[in-house]
Amino acid sequence: MILQEMTYAPAGESATENVARNGGQPQSNGIIESHSESGLETATKTLGWFSIALGAVEFLFPKRLARMIGTPPKPLTMRLMGLREIGVGLGILASERKAGWIKARVAGDAIDLAMLKSSFDSRRANRIRLGGTVAGVVAVTAADVIYARKVAAKEAPGERRIRVEASMAVNKPPADCYEFWRDAGNFSKFMKNVEATRTNGGQTHLKVRTGLVTFEWDAEITEEIPNEAISWRCVNRAKFANSGSVRFEPRLNARGTNVRLAVEYDSLGVGLGGAADAFLKTISRHQARENLRRFKSVMECGEFPVTQGQPSGHQTCATRKEAVR
């Protein structure tokens, strides 16, 4: 339900700038990129390369390494651990969201420590070397924990913006589409559960009923190119700072309009390594597309197709079961 709000909801600087500077070519928000190369980044990279190097040794020379660190030789286990290290290292280096991968290192450290502990019981272990190894792994684990926290804080979901885009071909000229979208009073005709009214200050008041909660906020138009594009953002930074833009591009040979909608909003700021955001992004992309589909229908046909309210034998069947009880 949050998503519905975001999908419909107005507003955003970056989208606005895009419209103004690039004639509307969407670009990704610069917030994450703005963190330049820093000590933290160097440390993170070092962790990544360390993982890969250690993993390579584990995979290529499992027996020799086992002798070195004092564990009983178990080449297969060692090789698997090596693959794990390499995978995590690559993840750290290649991924844009490194926090999760560094957390994976912490988890890996825990596995290593558990296995080292069990090695102490083996007759084939070299306890002195094992002791040194454990100390080393503990130190690395501490470093991993510290950097996992730092990187997670840097990549904190609260600072991130989520961007959703959708487009739809509409069999009406751009001017008609623009005209219709420009009138906030039309929003409820193609956006589910949305009511919009003009306020005195030229802003738009939006109300989204989700069934459980009703969200309300004001949005203002930040950029407008007649018959081409509209950008907006929410002014009172409601629960989610929303921004968005819609562009109306003539299709080839003037066969209607490609309507392109882009909406940005703050991340939910809840954990699971961004899984919640990713999930909600999927839903909001769907919502954005469905809203555009309704926009298309309303523009082309004056209505959009519905089946809610039509007869079905489903209720009949349910009623009957109750009667039997």
Binding site: A169, H286, S297, C301, E303, P305, V306, T307, Q310, S312
Partner: protein, 389 residues
């Protein structure tokens, strides 16, 4: 009102449900005078069409009297006698403007579902699963008809229901299948499946001037009806279809082939068992036996026309045969709206009386029995017309 509802595999019942009402300004409500069971309804009956829900009202071949109109339908009047095309089309989108009504971009409220399965969504259809809109169908006393200003066609009083009912689907569907073949007088057209669509494909091919039509089935009554229409017949239980076609056509094969069977083809031997197994394991949704045969038999450079319904994925389609021999494949749900007027003309001129295909008439209450005998080809059943009122 009473309506035929689907509850599961081979479980349909006539239930009392709410009357339909106008939901959109371009809707109409039609009181149904005649409605038919389509061969494609049997795919739903057999549980082969995904996204059906318990209680869905079936039926997409129906006609009747307009009893209520939405505020924006101005070309119809209450009391008009109309035939309703099975695809729902807005008349405004790119596809409708190109007269590809069955690909309407605005009539499927569940377009996103169809996009997931098929890449893009076709039009919404009456009573044919939620992939194509989940619209309540016309095997009922009343039906709500969306975009009523585009679909339904008024029919003259001098024509009986039997003569015009099949304009809703099977006549245009068989006709389009034949039209797709680019028929010339010297052409031989082979039709797999002598069910209702096959029968109309045979008649249409002859109407369009085909020199010879060969009909393939295994039920004597269906082959008899095909012969009465003017076709040569092959009973595939008595003779090898490929060999027979080769022999009849002097080795070239038929100029065009029509698969009027679809996804539940009856297969023989190990290949048939293999298809049934794969379908049961949900590794394919269709058993394309007829289509495989048709492709192999078609002459080099010929046309494969597929009015038969397929739902999802079919296995072992001989693409090598299609590609190397330059075959053309034509298919699609029929844009019935495009064919209504020209085919009504043909009926008025007496070129064809579509009622020839009807073998059974029943009340709506007997619809479950009708489904059963139609599916099991009992009592020489070819086409059932139901009278709901």
């Amino acid at each position: 009102m009473k309506a035929l509802c689907w509850y599961g595999k081979q479980d349909v019942r006539v239930e009392t449900v709410a009357d339909p009402r106008i939901l959109n300004p371009r809707d109409a409500i039609v009181k149904i005078t005649s409605t038919a069971i389509c061969g494609s309804d049997l795919h739903i009956y057999g549980g082969y069409i995904p996204s059906m829900r318990r209680g869905d009202i079936l039926g997409h071949e129906f006609m009747g009297e307009v009893v209520e109109l939405g505020s924006k339908v101005s070309n119809l009047r209450v009391g008009d006698r109309v035939v309703v095309p099975f695809p729902i089309a807005c008349g405004n989108c790119f596809s409708c403007e190109a007269e590809m009504y069955s690909l309407c971009e605005n009539s499927n409220p569940n377009a996103w579902m169809a996009e997931k399965l098929w890449g893009h969504s076709p039009a919404g259809l009456f009573g044919y699963s939620h992939l194509t809109g989940g619209y309540a169908g016309g095997q009922a006393q009343y039906a709500r008809v969306p975009f009523a200003d585009v679909g339904p066609i008024k029919v003259p009083d001098e024509l009986s229901d039997d003569q015009v009912l099949f304009l809703s689907d099977i006549f245009p569907t068989g006709y389009m299948a034949a039209e797709a073949c680019g028929i010339r007088p010297e052409h031989t057209v082979a039709v797999w499946g002598c069910g209702p669509v096959g029968q109309f494909a045979i008649r249409s091919a002859l109407l369009l001037g085909a020199g010879r039509v060969i009909a393939i089935d295994r039920f004597p009554e269906r082959l008899r009806m095909a012969r009465e229409s003017g076709a040569v017949t092959i009973n595939y239980e008595d003779a090898d279809v490929y060999d027979s076609l080769i022999e009849i056509t002097g080795g070239l094969g038929p100029d065009s082939v029509i698969d009027a069977v679809g996804m539940e083809a009856h297969g023989h031997g190990p290949v048939g068992a293999y298809d049934r197994l794969k379908q049961a394991l949900m590794l394919q949704t269709g058993r394309p036996t007829a289509l495989r045969q048709a492709i192999r038999a078609c002459r080099n450079g010929g046309t494969v026309s597929i009015p038969g319904v397929y739902g999802g994925f079919a296995d072992k389609i001989p693409m090598g045969s299609v590609m190397n021999r330059a075959l053309t494949i034509k298919s699609g749900q029929t844009p019935v709206q495009r064919y209504l007027r020209p085919l009504l003309e043909r009926v008025l001129k007496g070129e064809i009386d579509p009622g020839f295909v009807i073998t059974h008439r029943m009340k709506l209450d007997d619809a479950p029995h009708a489904y059963s005998i139609f599916r099991n080809k009992q009592d020489e059943c070819i086409k059932v017309v139901l009278n709901p009122n």
